[in-house]
């Protein structure tokens, strides 16, 4: 891929003030921060699907919001279509927003309950002053049919639909402006199993048809393997391993990736795994361990892990891991 990627995040950092220290005053309080995203770099090519995976609190959703400039970073940059999102003028940013959209996890919270479906879908076109009313209605009904819904839904309200149907509506809304990039933040995790497959098929059809790039944020590792071509595994605000999906799943190099993959229950009673349970729980993102942040739970940790914070290093073709075992 010689040309510049569609999206490039460089050394993104996002710290939030730690809300917990309500009774801690003065300097001590000011210095307590949650290291939600702590030095994350990746790129997504045009038409490519990159998955960000990790457990709750690893910073994957915050990363998704940063690359859309729904949040301002503490430091770092995001280049989208060659432009730095955090320095472009507001007018230009509004134009760029047409090219980037998001699908949220919870289709119950992300559709305004007081708006009719037709209004919800037309709104992006109205905001960006695209087309005549007739042209807008035309586009709304074309996209509705693409997501498998008919025009009868136009005058109905979100509460009249099931979770799967609402997620279809969210997908249609994300497509209204013909974006180049969609951030899909756990788009199927709130849906029933039989509906998940429907929505994933729809996302894949649309991705292929529109040549969309997707940043697919998920914790379901089986689904990620099915959907994405490349994957980045996050732990406590960092990418600890990244590479082509098959390479990472077949030969995981970082001990965390190994543990994560081993922990996924397999729907086959004959599959008697040798499972290395991770001990303990995620450390607080306020008080990070010294050195490698995974070392407190790592089955392979050794002395130097407490001193050195490992960088991503090459462990295979296009495959990197941040672990001292490979330095």
């Amino acid at each position: 891929m010689a040309e510049a990627p569609l999206l490039e995040a460089v050394d993104l950092v996002k710290h939030f003030p730690a809300a917990r220290g309500a009774f801690v005053f003065g300097r001590a309080r000011a210095h307590r921060v949650v290291h939600a995203v702590d030095g994350v770099s990746f790129s997504v090519g045009a038409g490519e699907v990159l998955a960000l995976v990790g457990e709750s609190g690893c910073g994957k959703s915050t990363t998704g919001r940063l690359v859309l400039r729904l949040l301002a970073p503490t430091s770092g940059s995001v280049r989208f279509m060659g432009e730095d999102l955090f320095t472009v003028p507001a007018r230009r940013m509004k134009r760029l927003r047409r090219e980037m959209q998001i699908i949220f996890q919870d289709p119950y919270a992300s559709l305004n309950p007081r708006m009719r479906i037709g209004t919800i879908l037309e709104e992006p076109l109205v905001v960006h002053r695209i087309g005549t009313p007739a042209e807008r209605r035309e586009r709304v009904s074309r996209l509705l049919s693409q997501v498998g819904l008919s025009d009868d839904v136009l005058d109905r309200y979100p509460h009249e639909f099931s979770g799967g149907q609402r997620q279809r509506i969210s997908i249609a809304r994300a497509l209204m402006l013909g974006p180049k990039l969609i951030v899909a933040d756990e788009p199927v995790s709130s849906l029933d199993v039989s509906i998940q497959a429907q929505v994933i098929n729809l996302v894949q059809d649309i991705q292929a048809e529109h040549g969309l790039a997707i940043l697919f944020i998920a914790h379901d590792l089986n689904m990620v393997r099915h959907v994405a071509r490349r994957v980045a595994v996050m732990y406590l605000g960092r990418i600890v391993e990244t590479g082509p999906v098959e390479a990472v799943y077949r030969t995981p190099r970082h001990p965390y990736t190994k543990a994560l993959l081993e922990a996924v229950p397999v729907p086959d009673p004959e599959h008697k795994r040798e499972r290395h349970l991770l001990k303990g729980e995620l450390p607080s993102p306020v008080d990070l361990p010294s050195g490698c942040r995974f070392r407190t739970r790592c089955p392979e940790a050794f002395d130097r892990c407490a001193q050195v914070d490992p960088k991503l290093v090459r462990v295979g073709p296009d495959h990197e891991a941040a672990c001292l075992l490979y330095e």
Binding site: E55, S56, S162, G164, Q165, D192, V193, S194, I195, Q196, A197, Q198, I200, N201, Q204, H219, L221, N222, M223, R225, H226, V227, E246, Y249, A259, L260, E262, A263, V264, P265, V266, P267, D268, P269, E270, H271, R275, L277, L278, G280, E281, L282
Partner: protein, 351 residues
């Protein structure tokens, strides 16, 4: 995995027959659980699988007599636990069973735990109530239980409130509470759904270990077929308040027979296979708008004329059937039972 202190002579630990639980809605009463049979042997792990609204949680609540009334009501059936029907028992007596002999682990520990009491108070309550322990004895036992479920520094944790604990810790506290009185049967309603996979793996290992050590039976309610494959000895698949298939876990995964069970298994992404997922079309119907005949019919790829007739019965295939190695594979589908075998309970006035 099917050992345990099997006093097989005394029959199954739990035998639910013909359970019907309804809820009043604006459109009239609907049956959330409709003529359900469920048997659990001592020391056995039974998986209850299905999607939201299929009645799996209501089944557990019905057994424990915890269905909120109104709007809910257990209309019919019997729930025989250790030889005694729980449904007609007066409230006093069911309280002596609940928490003592049968307990429940809920999905969302934050809402199931009381935020204004410490961990020790909440676990201690059932120890003092059911086992008549003194405050000091209960505290000592609580600390031991917390240690048993893998909580570090249990003595300190016992003094904390639920909000001071992480999600995984809270679920461990829920489990400690559920096993405090060494019950014979535990219902675990999606015990790991709210947790991350690495923590889920810890909790599942803990449940398997407790089962092995105490011989308790477990009814594991889950929508995750991976969790079920790993934990359960036997599985019941539910759809629209009914059991549509039940079998030994190995039989069910090796030879799923009901089109819904097959659909659930096929819709999962399989490692290394690209292409489209085999989705089940349509959506689970609302209980107020169930179709006639087989309830899965509108979504079924194999539906035919007979499926619109009387609802198929849950029929045992019998040993010798290729999908049944244990003699107890049951399925509610005309593909596997002749249409003339109409379910006497639901066929109504005949054909």
């Amino acid at each position: 995995m099917a050992e345990g202190p099997g006093t097989a002579a005394s029959g199954p630990l739990l035998s639910v027959r013909g359970l019907v639980t309804t809820f009043a809605t604006a459109k009239g009463p609907v049956a959330a659980v409709d003529h359900l049979d469920l048997t659990v042997d001592r020391g056995e792990v039974v998986g209850l699988v299905g999607e939201s609204g299929c009645g799996k949680s209501v089944t557990a609540l019905s057994v424990l007599r915890l269905v909120p009334d109104p709007p809910g009501r257990v209309e019919a059936g019997e729930v025989v636990f250790d030889g005694r029907d729980l449904l007609p028992l007066p409230e006093r007596e069911i309280r002596a069973v609940r928490g003592r002999r049968i307990s429940m682990i809920f999905q969302e520990p934050m809402t199931a735990l009381n935020p204004v009491f410490t961990v020790a108070t909440q676990i201690g309550e059932s120890l003092r109530l059911h086992l008549g322990m003194s405050k000091a004895e209960a505290l000592k036992k609580t600390v031991a239980l917390l240690a048993q479920v893998g909580i570090p520094s249990p003595a300190e944790r016992a003094r904390e409130y639920p909000h001071q604990l992480s999600g995984g810790m809270r679920q461990r506290v829920m489990i400690a509470m559920a096993i405090a009185c060494e019950p014979d049967l535990v219902f675990a309603d999606e015990p790991t759904t709210a947790l991350d996979v690495t923590i889920q793996a810890q909790i599942l290992a803990l449940l398997a270990d407790l089962k092995r050590r105490t011989g308790m039976a477990l009814v594991l309610i889950s929508h995750d077929l991976g969790v079920i494959a790993e934990m359960a000895d036997r599985v019941l698949i539910m759809y629209a308040g009914r059991v549509v298939e039940s079998a030994r876990t190995a039989d069910l995964f090796a030879s799923p027979l009901h089109p819904y069970t097959r659909g659930l298994l096929l819709s999962l992404p399989h490692a290394g296979e690209g292409g489209r997922l085999a989705a089940i079309p349509g959506a689970v119907p609302a209980l107020t708008e169930l179709p006639s005949g087989c309830k899965f019919r509108p979504r079924c790829p194999d539906a035919h004329a007979a499926c619109e007739g009387p609802e198929p019965a849950l029929v045992t295939l019998g040993a010798g059937h290729p999908g049944d190695h244990q003699g107890d594979h049951k399925v509610r589908c005309y593909l596997h039972s002749p249409a003339s075998v109409a379910d006497a309970a639901t066929a109504g006035g005949g054909r």
